[in-house]
């Protein structure tokens, strides 16, 4: 099966009628109160991908997203559009048209001729009205500060430094 066909099959898969998928959904969405709609949609879409890859057919999610973005927007039916996190996110700022990509030289020539460059979105020049976050984490020592402190600690036999070193989840095994 070509990846195109796989992506299309995924798009048309009826998750609403899949009892196994539906059974898992409430627990997934339980702690999503504070999340925006697009974050929720993204989560659902990822869950669908995870489920589909496990039980139906595996495919690359990034490639799927690219395929989705590059696809002619007129091909999308309405339910597709609602389900697509990428488009859901972009719909607030533009009309989702993906113009033909220009080379560096083509862009330079258009600028020199004063021609319009396609695909430039208008972004409102405004500030976020919501309250910014408060810092919750204390500064994490840099590797060079840790090394310096451990050598100082050896000098003074003090063991009270570097409480923050492990204040964040350690994911150093990820690679």
């Amino acid at each position: 099966m070509s990846s195109d066909a796989a992506f299309q099959a995924f798009d048309h898969y009826d998750f609403d009628k899949d009892d196994r998928f539906q059974a898992g959904l409430p627990s997934l969405l339980k702690n999503q109160e504070g999340k925006t709609e697009s974050e929720r949609l993204e989560l659902i879409q990822r869950a669908r991908w995870f489920y589909y890859t496990k039980f139906v057919q595996a495919f690359d999610y990034t490639e799927y997203q690219q395929w989705k973005i590059n696809r002619n927007p007129t091909d999308n039916n309405i339910s597709d559009k609602q389900d697509d996190p990428v488009q859901a996110k972009d719909s607030s700022t533009d009309d989702n048209e993906t113009p033909k990509r220009l080379t560096f030289q083509e862009i330079v020539e258009r600028i020199e001729k004063g021609e319009e460059i396609p695909g430039i979105k208008q972004i409102p020049n405004k500030l976020n009205e919501a309250a910014p976050s408060e810092a919750k984490l204390s500064a994490r020592p840099k590797p060079w500060e840790v090394q310096q402190r451990s050598s100082e600690a050896i000098d003074s036999s003090s063991g009270t430094n570097d409480e923050n070193v492990n204040s964040n989840p350690t994911n150093s095994h990820i690679l």
Partner: protein, 315 residues
């Protein structure tokens, strides 16, 4: 190696979070930064099926050339833009920045957050000026206008909270103390434009420069008459140099020759890694602060590469 595609945006700069070892910010510009929009990507590394997941994107009217995480608030970061503006973002809030400054008259090419006082950042612009800012203040704190050409790079000292370095198209590097209206030191470091400067994290008098002359030079500020070592090898301009946060002898460089190289300045053959998987100019490179050996790169080929280099762990 993880790859992430910044579709429609040419990568200009990236930085690992100083709080989370799996969070990466990437600044990109549409149309190679010549004209059009910018986008800031907040990426989770080691997350999701492909090893990289988008946590948030922020769109801007003009291209983004540099990004710096706040050292004080784990959710905030500042971007430098082609229209001369600076924007402070909060990753907990969608769409719009929480602060916007517009004093620079031309492209802002560099932004760097103070590593020690953690309460201010420095910017360098094509308008030849350098400015320092506090996130809560509506105007810049100070402006320096000594450089006679574009300022391409600014970097705080990791040891002195009031000291930073700047690199310029006027072929000099200048060392500044924010308490002084004039620079402390000027080094005629190359005979071509200097695109990047960084401080060694283990030797407080050592800085590194990267130039359009294809070379990287290491400098001892106490003996500035000539470089400590010159590292040839890149075939075009060196766009960015970064000193390892883990080892004092390791430097990474990104170049218009489409390669990323890692150097051990203490080794008999200094070039220890050559990463040539990018297919366009490479503009950004950064060491993960908390995962030794891991680096991220971004390029005009719209790709971010994240890789672990075993050779760095052996040195």
């Amino acid at each position: 190696m993880f790859k992430f595609r910044t579709e429609g945006y040419n990568g200009y700069s990236l930085q690992w979070s100083p709080f989370f070892e799996n969070k990466l910010a990437v600044a990109g510009s549409a149309n190679y930064g010549l004209v059009g929009n910018g986008r800031l990507f907040i990426l989770g590394v080691g997350v999701g099926p492909n090893g990289v997941a988008v946590e948030r994107v922020f769109d801007t009217q003009d291209g983004l050339f540099d990004v710096a995480w706040s050292e004080a608030n784990e959710n905030q970061l500042v971007t430098a833009s082609g229209d001369g503006s600076l924007k402070l973002w909060d990753t907990t809030l969608a769409d719009f920045p929480i602060q916007n400054w517009h004093e620079h008259q031309r492209e802002v090419f560099s932004v760097d957050w103070n590593l020690i006082s953690k309460d201010m950042f420095v910017t360098g612009s094509w308008d030849h000026t350098i400015k320092i800012w506090r996130p809560e203040m509506p105007r810049s704190l100070q402006t320096w206008t000594e450089h006679t050409h574009c300022v391409y790079s600014t970097a705080w000292s990791p040891y002195n909270p009031s000291m930073f370095a700047s690199a310029s198209g006027d072929q000099t590097v200048k060392i500044w103390d924010i308490k002084s209206p004039r620079s402390m030191q000027t080094i005629h470091a190359h005979t071509n434009e200097i695109l990047s400067v960084d401080w060694n994290k283990y030797q407080d008098n050592t800085i590194v420069t990267g130039s359009v002359d294809h070379t990287i030079k290491v400098w001892d500020l106490r003996r500035p008459d000539r470089e400590v070592i010159c590292l040839p090898g890149h075939e075009y301009a060196v766009r960015r140099v970064k000193c390892s946060p883990h080892k004092g002898n390791i430097i990474a460089s990104a170049s218009y020759d489409m390669s990323v190289r890692v150097w051990d300045m203490a080794a008999p053959v200094p070039m220890v890694e050559l990463h040539d998987a990018h297919t366009e100019f490479v503009l950004g490179v950064d060491f993960n602060l908390y995962v030794e050996g891991q680096i991220a790169t971004c390029a005009w080929d719209e790709n971010v590469h994240i890789m672990t280099l075993p050779s760095l762990l052996r040195r």
